[in-house]
């Protein structure tokens, strides 16, 4: 239990997937102007990353490792993730059309987001068990969602009353702010 707790804290904050591991910056830079869309996007990523992480783990263990073709990981994973997202979308539309309609855009944003792919690969690289894969993927994605959310909050505040210089508006200032968020996480160093 303790191990999982530490893993969660580490994946969410200390080795935050965006701020420390540098994955998934594009959506953080692009989507975080409003707090609601950050929330929707965050939830979608939590879902897709967890599903993709576990599915890839299963594929790795049952196919790639058994057949000793681990070197095809990259090719297989990207196909699997893409097909999975597609599949889930069809499924969701069938399962709950009103809910699916409310979400609209969030699902397809994910496939080429390097965070989803990166988490799937990291699970294999760090030799996680299935439970660990599940927890790590989930926690990493929650860490991602939190960054998205915090960034949206900070940007909303900056947009409302701030005066970021023209030259730094948009991507540059978001990156710098991400850096500052990462810097603050240094406070948690040594917790794992």
């Amino acid at each position: 239990m303790q191990d999982y707790l530490l893993m969660i804290v580490a994946a969410m904050f200390i080795n935050n997937i965006v701020l420390i591991r540098f994955m998934g910056n594009c959506p953080v830079v692009g989507v975080t102007s409003s707090y609601e869309s950050a929330l929707g996007m965050g939830a979608a990523v939590v879902f897709v990353a967890t599903m993709a992480g576990t599915t890839c783990w299963i594929i790795q263990k049952t196919i790639l490792e058994v057949l000793e073709i681990e070197y095809l990981q990259t090719l297989v994973f990207i196909l699997v993730i893409a097909a999975l997202v597609q599949f889930v979308e069809i499924l969701m539309q069938k399962v709950a059309p009103p809910l699916y309609r409310a979400l609209g855009i969030f699902l397809p944003l994910i496939t080429t987001n390097c965070m989803v792919f990166g988490v799937s690969v990291l699970n294999i690289k760090e030799e996680h068990s299935f439970m660990q894969t599940l927890v790590f993927s989930l926690a990493s994605a929650v860490g991602f969602a939190l960054v998205l959310l915090f960034m949206a909050g900070l940007r909303e505040r900056m947009d409302a009353t701030g005066r970021v210089p023209q030259l730094l508006r948009g991507v540059p200032i978001t990156l710098i702010t991400a850096g500052m968020m990462g810097l603050s996480f240094a406070g948690l160093l040594g917790m794992v």
Binding site: F150, G153, L154, E156, R157, M158, T161, G162, R163, V164, P165, L168, I173, I176, T177, G179, M180, M181, L183, S184, F185, A186, G187, L188, L189, G190, M191
Partner: protein, 328 residues
């Protein structure tokens, strides 16, 4: 022109006289007791660091204002006050160039890239402090032995707690010394005398320059969290009183968490912000590699400020409905 040209403007036509300069001046004055206490303990080095910090902060502020094509506003004393607070977080022995680098980071990343005073989401002092601590742990994170041989380093109370546990704390660091400040206690310049900090903090509260709610929340969150662990196991965990008086609790509560720009503006928001800062401080002290957590805690929790600010009071008369639709 036939008539004298009168001024026409929208009200109010009088002003309270509040100004940034006034607020910053108050902050500087409020820190003077702490500087004096540190002077008694660490000697002239205190003044050296404080002077370099304030001077270089003002210098960088002017340079960056020029660079970013802003009007020169060093007269508002914000850079000077920021520099002084940064000096409070550094040991008296810190080399001059570390201070100068720190103030550059503080003013660049904590002020000017965001558009100047009031636009930064994170407190520049904290940005600078953490950046320096990570880059030069030995120069910024080690504290000198007061007065005698400043070349040697000594454990601060919280480091002692981290390294050796809570067992002999009371003997090594009498609470009275912790409170008043003495040569038994080392730490950063601003961590010497809690009495001095309390005086400064109360001065700010009473002059209504900062809200009382944030420090109150901070200190109660910290003490409450510490108390839980202390009650469970007083052998391993230090008492809440120790935690209140050791390290940067009071500095964080009165001078960092209350930074106007990065803390919430609503009362509920302030209360929660303070509370979370206090709890976070304890979490870092207990479980991270750092002995002190107050500064990191404030830094981290300011990420949540926009959310705390969503907890705003109900608009006057909102029982009758929402004001968002105009019905004139």
């Amino acid at each position: 022109m036939k008539e004298p040209g009168f001024v026409v403007a929208v009200g109010p036509h009088i002003h309270s006289g509040n100004s940034v300069r006034d607020m910053m001046l108050h902050q500087i004055i409020a820190l003077l007791p702490a500087v004096a206490a540190a002077f008694l303990v660490f000697g002239a080095d205190t003044l050296r660091v404080a002077a370099i910090a304030m001077g270089s902060a003002v210098f960088w502020d002017a340079v960056l204002q020029k660079l970013f094509k802003r009007s020169l506003s060093i007269g508002d004393l914000s850079a000077a006050a920021g520099g002084l607070v940064l000096a409070m977080l550094l040991p008296a022995t810190v080399p001059w160039w570390v201070v100068v680098l720190g103030t550059l980071v503080m003013l660049l990343l904590g002020k000017h890239v965001y558009g100047g005073l009031g636009c930064n989401p994170f407190n520049g002092v904290l940005i600078a402090y953490v950046a320096l601590l990570l880059s030069y742990p030995g120069l910024v994170g080690d504290y000198p032995v007061p007065t005698s041989d400043m070349m040697m380093t000594q454990n601060s109370p919280l480091l002692e707690l981290k390294d050796k546990g809570a067992e002999f704390l009371d003997e090594t660091f009498p609470l009275q010394d912790l409170f008043l400040g003495s040569t038994l206690i080392t730490g950063t310049i601003g961590e010497v005398s809690k009495l001095a900090l309390l005086l400064g903090g109360l001065f700010l509260v009473l002059r209504r320059k900062i809200s009382w709610i944030i420090p109150a929340g901070f200190l109660s969150g910290l003490a409450g969290f510490a108390a839980v662990f202390w009650l469970i196991d007083p052998e391993t965990y230090a008492s809440p009183l120790f935690h209140l008086l050791a390290g940067g609790s009071l500095l964080g509560a009165f001078f960092l968490a209350t930074d106007w720009t990065t803390s919430p503006v609503t009362k509920t928001g302030m209360a929660l912000f303070g509370l979370v800062c206090g709890v976070m401080t304890m979490a870092i002290r207990l479980w991270s590699q750092w002995p002190e957590g107050a500064y990191f805690a404030v830094f981290m929790v300011s990420m949540l400020t926009p959310f705390f600010d969503k907890l705003r009071p109900k608009v006057f008369g909102s029982k009758f409905g929402s004001h968002r639709q105009v019905q004139f």
